[in-house]
Amino acid sequence: MEDQFIVELFFSEPDSALEELRTKYENYCHTIAFNILGNNEDCDECVNDMLLRVWNSIPPNRPENLAAYVAKITRNLALDMLRKNNAERRGGGESQIAFEELGDILHGNNELAQMEDSKEIQEALNRFLDSLSKTERGVFMRRYWMVEPVAVIASTYGMSLSKASSMLHRLRQRLKKQLEKDGINL
């Protein structure tokens, strides 16, 4: 079913809408959560929480892009759960590796972390993503948004593991340069 109809259905028949949403996006959201958390039990909880949040938020919200809407909610929930898990024990293997990679470009600048308005950084991130080729953007987003293992990304784009790693390294350096050029010191 088209996303637009699913959203409209939430306003008239929310039970049916939720079922349609689950059918269409459960696997997608499960994949996002699994990449971050690394285990099925937590993922199922995340996906169920996502469905609950969507149920509670539509209406009144009327998201224009349902795929992005559910993906962002799921990713947020998974990152929150990862923090909770980390407070108790280390977990989410792939996300830890991805976090460490990003450590290359971050300076631990607390001032920025406290900034209330992070819009400037988000705009800079959007400009950065816009400046990439489709393949580069796909590789970057899969690694740091979807938290996919590098081997999976390499396989998806038919490139060697070393080439994918090299491309990610370069993209991180390019992002760092661009943010610094925009006066943003992470």
Binding site: E26, N27, Y28, H30, T31, N40, E41, D44, V47, E64, N65, A67, A68, Y69, A71, K72, R75, N76, L79, R83, F99, E100, L102, G103, L106, H107, G108, N109, N110, L112, A113, S118, I121, Q122, L125, N126, L129, K134, E136, R137, G138, M141, R142, W145, M146, G158, M159, S160, L161, S162, K163, S165, S166, M167, H169, R170, L171, Q173, R174, L186
Partner: protein, 382 residues
């Protein structure tokens, strides 16, 4: 900033990027529900994955161990920090390949194993580029693939600037041909995978020292010095501005060679080329060779400015460049570089003159000699 905070910020990127990710990914498998059976299988899968990781790690370790050495600049002969586009090559007499784009990289290949043994940056751009490459293989084709990915990622190679100069130095002709073939095959294979169209210019220098002094004087690579000599000697040009040619990058030199029909070994069309019919209309072949060289350089420089002023020019799908000679109602001729996606003229070399190319030549010649480009650039949209 903590990485967790950064990951949160990344969550708020524009929806279109997430949509793009969703559309190019298949999620056809049903989501797995956890059951006792699946937990048992998961445990076995975990053990198998651990073994697989150990094997993969060992393979990678072996690969890294056999990766070519990236030589630091201090150990490279002649490398001069003050040079932006420095020369030279490690003149130990052994066969090597030099890639010139702007970054100049010397690739040493072991004669027996035909594997890459060393990668040597010959200028600062190359040094920076090689710092970013995680070289994990010494297979020629794979090394070239990694380099090309990096060159493309750093926008040294783009759809509008697609030239690479491959110079084989030292060795005998047979060796040189073999090395050249290895390199060209690697570049073409990688370009095909990346859906790029390269214009590869090749040359063989049995005695690179011949160009050493010229290269040092002009702070260019021996490969580039040899290419300039090849173009000018091929045209029998005697009165020309060498410094201006030396200041041009490989893309521009490749274009100039194309515009004046200098005979060089080129595989693949150079971006911004002009077809023969248009060259006939421009009348470049009937000019004095020095004037033709001047005009070719003017066109190439305009092309470079046009590309710089139009970031969309890097998109091969939406942007194609046309260079045409057009005549207006007053019989005035213009050399027009047009963006067909918008239909707008992006740059115009406009001059009045007669209807035949012979009549137009003096006008071009005169303009080219008297700040022609500077004058007309004031009318350009950049």
């Amino acid at each position: 900033m903590k990485t967790e905070d950064f990951m949160d910020l990344l969550n708020e990127v524009d929806d279109k990027f997430i949509q793009e990710l969703y559309e190019e990914t298949e999620f056809s498998k049903p989501a797995k529900k956890t059951s006792r059976t699946s937990i048992v299988w998961t445990r076995w899968a975990g053990i198998a994955a651990a073994f697989a990781l150990i094997i993969l790690g060992s393979v990678l370790l072996m690969k890294y161990k056999s990766a070519p050495t990236v030589i630091v600049p201090d150990s490279t002969q002649h490398l001069n920090d003050s040079m932006d586009s420095s020369v030279v090559y490690t003149d130990d007499g052994s066969p090597a390949v030099i890639l010139d784009i702007n970054p100049s990289i010397e690739i040493k290949i072991d004669e027996e194993t035909e594997q890459v043994s060393q990668l040597i940056p010959l200028n600062k751009d190359a040094e920076e580029l090689l710092t970013n490459v995680l070289m994990t293989t010494n297979n020629v084709s794979d090394c070239v693939d990694l380099l090309l990915t990096e060159l493309s990622g750093e926008s040294y190679i783009t759809p509008t600037s697609n030239s690479i100069l491959v110079t084989v130095v030292n060795g005998n002709e047979q060796q040189a041909q073999h090395l050249s073939d290895l390199m060209i095959n690697g570049l073409q294979k990688s370009a095909k995978e990346e859906q790029m169209s390269l214009s590869i210019v090749t040359q063989y220098l049995p005695d690179p020292e011949q160009y050493g002094e010229l290269a040092m004087q002009n702070e260019i690579s021996v490969g580039k010095a040899a290419l300039i000599s090849s173009i000018t000697e091929n045209l029998n040009a005697t009165d020309y501005d060498y410094t201006r040619l030396a200041d041009m990058n490989i893309q521009a030199l490749n274009q100039v060679a194309d515009y004046v029909s200098a005979s060089i070994n080129r595989i693949g069309n150079v971006a911004g080329d002009i077809n023969e019919q248009q060259l006939d209309v421009i009348g470049i072949a009937s000019m004095e060779i020095e004037a033709a060289l001047q005009l070719a350089q003017d066109i190439s420089e305009t092309y470079a400015q046009l590309v710089e002023a139009n970031p969309s020019a890097n998109d091969p799908v939406n942007y194609n460049r046309w260079i045409t000679m057009e005549q207006n109602a007053n019989s005035e001729w213009s050399l027009v570089i047009r963006d067909p996606s918008s239909g707008q003229s992006q740059a115009v070399f406009s001059f009045s003159g007669g209807s035949s190319s012979a009549d137009r030549v003096p006008n071009i010649f005169e303009h080219a000699w008297h700040g022609f480009f500077d004058f007309w650039s004031s009318f350009l949209p950049f």
